[in-house]
Amino acid sequence: MKKRYFTTFELILLALFSALIVVAKIALRFPITLSGHSGIFWMAIVIVGAGIVPKPGATSLMGLTSGLIAAFLGMGDFGALNTFMSYTFVGVGTDIALWLLRDPEHLIGAPVAAAIGHLAKLLFKWVFGIVSGTPVGFVALGLAKAVVGYIVFGALGGLLGALTLRALRRAGFFTYLAEKR
């Protein structure tokens, strides 16, 4: 019988992280209004997920699943497709970055990967905006501000994720997981 790429246990873990991303987006509030500020929670969860299921495609699957959940919950300002694709792009962007950077526990690599993943979301929103006829007005001002916000908060989330992974490793969580697998 052909071996499946993700085990059932890994799929369950990824589904839980996906749900956690949506819950964090709804429930956690950061008392600032800069664009992309939710990335500090979001990207931390994505990086932790990437560390716990260290396979290419894991964060893409997390993005896809969280996107489906968020779209069905009616989240986002620009409709279900925009929401679904935004979440998916976070996962795919992080996957591509981690394919290059490899180690989600690295204290510089993880923030860079998370910043790229988070920026991929903005990239999609921006391209979607152009395709759907977003007015040019104010976009440049907002885009520059949004880019900074997405990178800074994405990177902070990545750092938080890497620190969490290190703490989990020290606590013996990965040994426990290996036994469960």
């Binding site: 008392p31 300002d77 620009f78 970055a97 977003t134 104010f138 885009l143 880019v147």
Partner: protein, 168 residues
């Protein structure tokens, strides 16, 4: 390849992404042309025309925001903070106080989303209603308010590109 080299390549990739986005956006802005009949040739790229009784009297540009104060409120249902510039302040800045009377009706519209809302000057002028432009995640303006017909996500006017004022 060492981890250091990988990080350098990733940072270059990140910088290229940012440069590409901002570059294309700058090109888009410089190539922007008025898409509505009757617009003046000096239409500032990246601005929103403000009409008074059908005539374009001013263009709302990002530079105008520097002279305006920001206000904020929290959407009860979602706990989300909306922060931006009051429509009242924008109109006072661009049209001046003498042209705006209680009988004026202000229409804020988005052609891409085919949405619009009509507001009276009394509603707009009342700061308690918080009729304001919030900067959306992708950098366009979104009209939100505490007014009942503008207080939930489906009623917000995203991607605003037109402001019409009609005064009898």
């Amino acid at each position: 390849m060492t981890q250091r080299n990988r990080i350098v390549i990733a940072v270059i990739l990140l910088a290229a992404l940012i440069g590409g986005m901002l570059g294309v956006e700058a090109l888009r802005r410089s190539a922007a042309q008025p898409d509505l009949p009757g617009e003046e040739a000096d239409y500032p790229p990246g601005s929103i025309p403000v009409r008074l009784n059908g005539d374009v009297l001013a263009y709302f540009t990002p530079d105008d925001l520097d002279s305006l104060d920001t206000v904020s409120f929290v959407v009860d249902e979602e706990g989300k903070t909306q922060e931006g510039w009051l429509l009242r302040d924008v109109l006072l800045l661009l049209l001046g106080p003498t042209r705006l009377t209680d009988a004026c009706v202000i229409t804020v519209a988005s052609s891409s989303r085919e949405k619009s809302v009509d507001l009276t000057w009394v509603e707009v002028a009342d700061e308690a209603n918080k009729v304001l432009f919030d900067l959306s995640g992708r950098g366009t303006l979104k009209l939100v308010s505490l007014l009942e017909r503008l207080d939930v996500r489906d009623e917000w006017i995203q991607d605003v590109d037109r402001i019409d004022v009609v005064c009898p």
